[in-house]
Amino acid sequence: MIHDLDTSPAQKDGLLIQIDHLTKVYQLGEVDVHALRGVSVHVSKGEFVAIMGASGSGKSTFMNILGCLDKPTKGTYLLEGIDVGKLSRDELAAIRNLKIGFVFQGFNLLSRTSALENVELPLFYCSVSNKLRKSKAIQAIERVGLGDRIHHYPNQLSGGQQQRVAIARALVNDPSIILADEPTGNLDSRTSVEVMGIFQELNNNGITVILVTHEPDIAQFAKRHIVFRDGKIKSDRINPNPKVASEVLKELPAIDEEEEAA
């Protein structure tokens, strides 16, 4: 481990996530399934982390706990100094609303709801005036380059565009972290690189991005790689030369624009 194990609840300077000795046990009938067996990870502000591992390695469980969708069985998880394990259901919801932005593999946009309304959604669950909500949502959509499609419905958008709307939704409440679970899993290779470009751009502007992927190519865009195996961290190291999406895009053969739109 390259990080020291400081378990004091006080937040260390610039430290966003402090996870220590995390275990998660599921009960499936009479069998205990150990999904995580003592995981310790610290993430600082502004990092771009890729979490990798085969299916069953515990990376999804780790993401769920990281995203406050699930609680650990043992161990501590401090997010910006807050002990998430001690929070109630509603408090966890508030953390998800204000501090975490989710991006999923299947986009998870509400169908028959316009791009703008999808992006506005997180702001409905915190006290924001109608006017501010709209302007924040438009700002977030423009940030992912879809300013001209705010009134389109998900079924009128391509996969890449839908994922951008999802990223805009994750961004809209100025979260501390963006958690992306296989964000390129349903996209072709060129669109995948474009989406990674957006993450890199956001990261360059100071947003912490944590990405779960099983594709080594995609992980190459991240600055730090954490590999899970059998519920434990197998390796945790800095990626010395992250690929830059904008440069990769230039080398990729151009795809017919019409084909992409279809």
Binding site: N64, G67, L69, D70, R89, D90, A93, A94, R96, N97, L98, F102, F104, N108, L109, L110, R112, T113, L121, P122, F124, Y125, C126, N130, R169, N173
Partner: protein, 405 residues
Amino acid sequence: MKILNILLSAFRALQRNKMRSFLTMLGIIIGVGAVIAMLAIGQGAEYSVKEQIAALGTNVLMVFPGAQQQGGVRTAAGSAVTLTEDDALAIQRECPAVQYLSPGSGAGGQVIAGNLNWSTGISGVGNDYLEIRQWSVEYGAFFTDQDVKAATKVCVLGKTVADNLFPESSPVEQTIRIRNVPFKVVGVLTKKGQNTAGQDQDDIILAPYTTVIRRLSHWPNLRSILVSATSLKDIPTAQTQISELLRMRHKIQPYDADDFTIRNQTDLAATATATTEILTILLASIASVSLLVGGIGIMNIMLVSVTERTREIGIRMSIGARSRDILTQFLIEALVLSLLGGVIGIILGTTGSSIISKIAKWPTIVTPFSIILSFGFSIAIGIFFGFYPARKAAMLNPIDALRYE
């Protein structure tokens, strides 16, 4: 999440399945419509019964002579000759709870006017009779106290009698012959229509009771005494006062039964009203069953909706919706369904009742109470049947909901 936004998104969610939302609402529409219509019919019946009873004069008491008793054998009520004019005058004089009094005598027979004739009953009454019955004279006037004292041969015709004897001219100031005794017609009563028993109340001739006794029946005693109490609540007092006075006047021993009967119409009114009230409750409860079925329909559809939208619930939770946000969302959707159905049902029930009124000639009354009741009922049904599905949605585990296919 602000209530207006929740409402808006509820409307949108329901719009997505227009047919389904409409069919779900239909259950409530029919239920509320039926409740409104049934209450309207029941209350219409109640109203018309009350109206007819009020037409009789509700604070009216009738004193009849009792049954004659000879050696333990009782003959029919009224067979005893116990009510006299002096009894009537004594009641008027000595019972403070009595407001108006009209002694009654009667005769029946052939009535002739010109070349037309008609058979009817002639009621001998006092000049306060109209006050007691709350009747009125349409043409001419009623006879006076002087007419009663002097036993003048004057009479007032009911509308039916007037129409039959004088089809083309005004009967006022004309002379009719009742059993060959000439009577001058001084007035015609306002049309009353049928009473609750279906008798024509306009087939009547009123004359001073003194005249009827002396010229027609030749029977010195009274057939009845009609009394009105000073107010509705004084009826029992008046009854007691009359009873005590008559017992004293007739020298009835404490262990002997009355030789007269006093009837009041509040009993009749209460019975009739109670009957129609039961009818109303019965009709409304049958209709509420369909409202209940409508509620179950809402619950069913909301459960389907929660299952269908599990993923949506997961998405909403992952971006920060609390349990109570989800609960409110689904509860509001159920409420919108039931309220919208309720409002349409109220409109439908109200128009339906007026159509029933017109076609079946049955009076229907839609009261604000029945509207408030059905409206309240549909809110209650929305909350009651919407709560379980909404709670089911709110209690979902966000991870499972997100992974739901």
